[in-house]
Amino acid sequence: MTLTRLDCGFIPLVDCAALVVAREMGFAEEEGLDLVLHKEPTWSALRDKLALGVLDAAHMLAPVPVAMSMGLGGMAVPLDVLLVLSVNGNTVGVSRALSARMQEQGGARDFLDAATTGRALIDAAESRLRIGVPFPFSMHAELLYYWLQALGLEAPKDLDVRTVPPPRMADAVAAGEIDAFCVGEPWGSIAVEAGVADMVLPGCAIWRFAPEKVLTVRRAWSEEKPELAGALMRAVWRAARWLAVPDNLVIASELLSRPGYVDVSTDIVDRALTGRLEISPHGEERRVPQFLEFFECAANFPWRSQAAWIATRLSERMGMDRAESVAVARGCFRSDLYRSVLGPLGAETPAASEKLEGSLTERIAVGSSRGQMVLGPDFFFDHKVFDPAISN
């Protein structure tokens, strides 16, 4: 059988695992695809190459396709989110000096207590907080703004969120250019290993079920090549299902640690995959449930309410029309394609394409195409609920 070549870009992060597994474990080949993975230097380069057709598909920060559909950053090429590649997986780290001051301010003993940790961070800051994120349009930035604004910090007056390339994050903390960061793995662990930062909070303590990376293609491409888009979705979804089997994580870690992919030791990759994080240079360990989720609780389903949440936050910050932003954002999360392509494979497909975001505090069974499916907790740390219908 001749394979159809498909070029997909990725950024070397633990959360690109489903793409790596789709290629290396033969799920792509099974679908007749020669899935060629291209390591890209920056999110902007990855986005531009996708938009201009140099790449067919991309491992993308969930807010990027939303921002693009709103006309923010780069060119306004319509993109489709075929599925969610990963949920959660970020960490907040602070400089060791700031960490010590936070302890004096009564920092949280509970690693998952975002409210106490956030207040300690605000109190311990000696001037305007400078926090590094990988990209202006990222869940990292959204989580930070959501968290610290809910605790009373005003942006940009008291909060300076800056773009710092993740490989430079540890150095930027060491050089005193930033006080803290929010970044995906392995970069949080690497900063801890380097002895320059303490991890103070996992991203999921701010929003328990935040869509992190999404599989994105040009809308023109998915319309022109629906069978190819379908094959890619099936391969990646099967890879995500494979990643949900605990016994497979050893292999996944081995694959990801290779030089062509994330290129760090398996010991570091394991921390994100198993949710056992070392939070300080002394080796203190914390276990975080669903620290990085690839599959369970319908993680791959591109909820239109997730797109609406991102668009609402972006439009408020950028001073854009909210209803208009939400409308275009919804359209790029293709829950319709997900249902038609992956439903027949046995993927859990909820009856609705939107849900209240933040309303679940525990696992719950809901109506699905096959009767019942399980959704996981998705609450925000301040227990506010986002109703996508009200944003209309």
Partner: protein, 194 residues
Amino acid sequence: MATGLKIAVVERDRDRAIQIIDGLMEAGDHDITVIGEDSGLARKLAMLNPDVVLIDLENPDRDMLEELTLASSPMERPVAMFVDRTDDRATQAAIEAGVSAYVVDGLRKERIKPILDAAIARFHMISRMRVELAATKAALAERKTIDRAKGLLMKAKGLSEEQAYALLRKTAMDQGRKVADVAAALVTASDLLK
């Protein structure tokens, strides 16, 4: 003729920066500044307030420039990634050459085009030189390895240089491998046995 534009080139490598400046000088009388240091990139750009920013598409610091496209950008004027929707090929050519350009909104296309064309030409030239350099380096490294392997064979088996090379070549042919690979294997093995 309109006065020149203020152009910032973000490039750490001095030789490459000079290449790019040379190319841009040919495109007109512009005020060109090179920013080589990566820390404080946004601040430096804000101080400079250029009309056009050119950066290598593969530059690992490029994401820091994305802030320029935001309303709260450190530059006072809104900036857009240069995309000429009327001429997709121009954008495509820029991407292929590996150059990305950020341009202040409202700047006329005719004024940008010669600059981008010059940048594209230079970036192409630089990437050709880069490929050539890499190829030369690889060839040199291979030759060195083969020389070492020959030396090992000559010493261990009392062969002449010619005989040693013939043995390497025969082994490579028998195994369907490259001479350089066989030589590298031999060198590694002998290092291990030391």
